[in-house]
């Protein structure tokens, strides 16, 4: 099944250009692995990058640069790094060492909820995995700055839309919402936020110091 909620064009171009903040880049990459349409767009972006690279006026390399390169290719390649174990099989087929490692460090945060930090920073930015049990709602909240989300497993409902595996969402600072996991099963999302969310009800205010998202 292909996702039905996609990142905007400029996110895909920034991803192809390598210009996104690391956390935002991961969330876009997770969506792109599940989405042929967006993958074609990223490949177009990379082709543009290649054409621009090719048209650049060359910058002279050191005199011995080619000799060094020819010597280096004669040396044996280091053994490939051990592949990480990968994410659980029932997640979307997105493998990232940072995300896989985070999943193994997940910790209980509240009843039905676990959180796993993936990348901290820059500044107050924070990238994490969030698991919420079937039928549960995330406390009512809003955001400071942008928040990017890709569903890795399960589904949630947000303001009338169902977000399913691979679906992408971008929430800006005018959104106030209470995303609710569907009753079919737990939902795991990869989330990258410019700043911690702002709890708008007592439940959120009570739990936020422990959940730290």
């Amino acid at each position: 099944m292909s996702p039905s909620h996609h990142p905007s064009e400029h996110h895909l171009v920034e991803h192809a250009a390598g210009g996104l903040a690391p956390g935002h880049d991961l969330v876009i990459a997770a969506h792109v692995t599940t989405c042929g349409t967006c993958q074609a767009e990223v490949r177009l972006g990379e082709a543009v990058g290649g054409a621009l690279l090719d048209a650049l006026p060359p910058e002279a390399m050191a005199k011995d640069a080619l000799a060094r390169a020819l010597a280096r290719i004669e040396r044996p390649a280091p053994p490939a790094t051990v592949a990480s174990r990968g994410p659980p099989a029932d997640w979307i087929g997105f493998s990232s060492p940072a995300v896989d490692a985070a999943w193994r460090r997940r910790r209980w945060a509240a009843p039905g909820v676990w959180v796993a930090p993936v990348i901290r920073g820059p500044g107050r930015a924070h990238t994490y995995l969030l698991r919420v049990a079937a039928g549960m709602a995330v406390p009512y909240h809003r955001h400071k700055g942008r928040e990017l989300v890709t569903v890795l497993k399960g589904a949630y409902e947000d303001r009338g839309d169902i977000h399913q595996p691979g679906d992408f969402a971008e929430n800006d600072d005018v959104v106030e919402h209470r995303p609710t996991v569907t009753r079919d099963g737990e939902c795991v999302c990869l989330i990258s936020a410019d700043a911690p969310l702002v709890a708008l009800d007592w439940v959120g205010k009570l739990f936020q110091p422990f959940v730290r998202i």
Partner: protein, 207 residues
């Protein structure tokens, strides 16, 4: 300017075989030429082909990295790493899927990102991301030919081309690119969206 950079000024001709008595020059288009060189590296470990790739790409990768604010020394080193990766991963290059320059661009971009992340001190267990196989439905014709992409880029309105160039050659999010161009962010985003849509149409027509 050093000799290697000067060599890259005549990309129409490729020297095949070892230089000297047995060498001959074959006339080819630049695109097929560069792709064929990577295939020669993959299939035969062809050192001469590698040297030609190095002379073409290393000075351009260095220029790309310096445009993004990398120092000359670090750019030189990353250009070396990029071409070393070209040698080691040549078997993963598929000339039917991507142009040589696209493939090399993606390697240089990823190495630059990896370096930036190492400097940021990753969390424990974090490693560079593995390359992921493309989905079968991610098809777009004619991307294996960089000349078509370059021709399509040249056909863009100037302000769209500038917005795209800034996206690739500026180590800044689009919000800061908008500041540099003294434009509202929405305008930069819409120029990029229009440019990509136009490119898609031009390339599909060409196919």
């Amino acid at each position: 300017m050093h000799a290697q950079a000067a060599n890259t000024q005549v990309p129409i001709f490729a020297v095949w075989g070892s230089p000297g008595a047995g060498a001959h020059v074959r006339f080819m288009t630049e695109t097929r030429d560069l792709s064929a060189l990577i295939v020669a590296v993959a299939e035969r470990g062809d050192r001469d082909a590698f040297a030609s790739l190095f002379n073409h790409f290393a000075p351009r990768v260095k220029a790309y990295l310096m445009k993004l604010g990398t120092t000359s020394e670090a750019a030189e080193e990353l250009a070396q790493e990029t071409l070393l990766a070209v040698w080691r991963r040549a078997a993963g290059f598929d000339p039917a899927r991507a142009a040589a320059s696209t493939w090399v661009f993606a390697i240089a971009r990823n190495l630059r990102i990896d370096l930036a992340r190492r400097e940021r001190r990753p969390l424990p267990g974090e490693q560079p991301a593995p390359e992921q196989a493309p989905r079968p439905d991610a098809q777009l014709a004619t991307l294996q030919d960089e000349r078509r992409v370059a021709t399509a880029l040249a056909a863009l309105p100037a302000e769209q081309a500038e917005a795209v160039r800034m996206a690739f050659f500026s180590d800044k999010p689009h919000s800061e690119i908008a500041l540099d161009l003294s434009l509202p962010l929405g305008t930069v985003k819409s120029r990029i969206r229009l440019a990509m849509g136009r490119l898609r149409i031009l390339l599909e027509e060409a196919g």
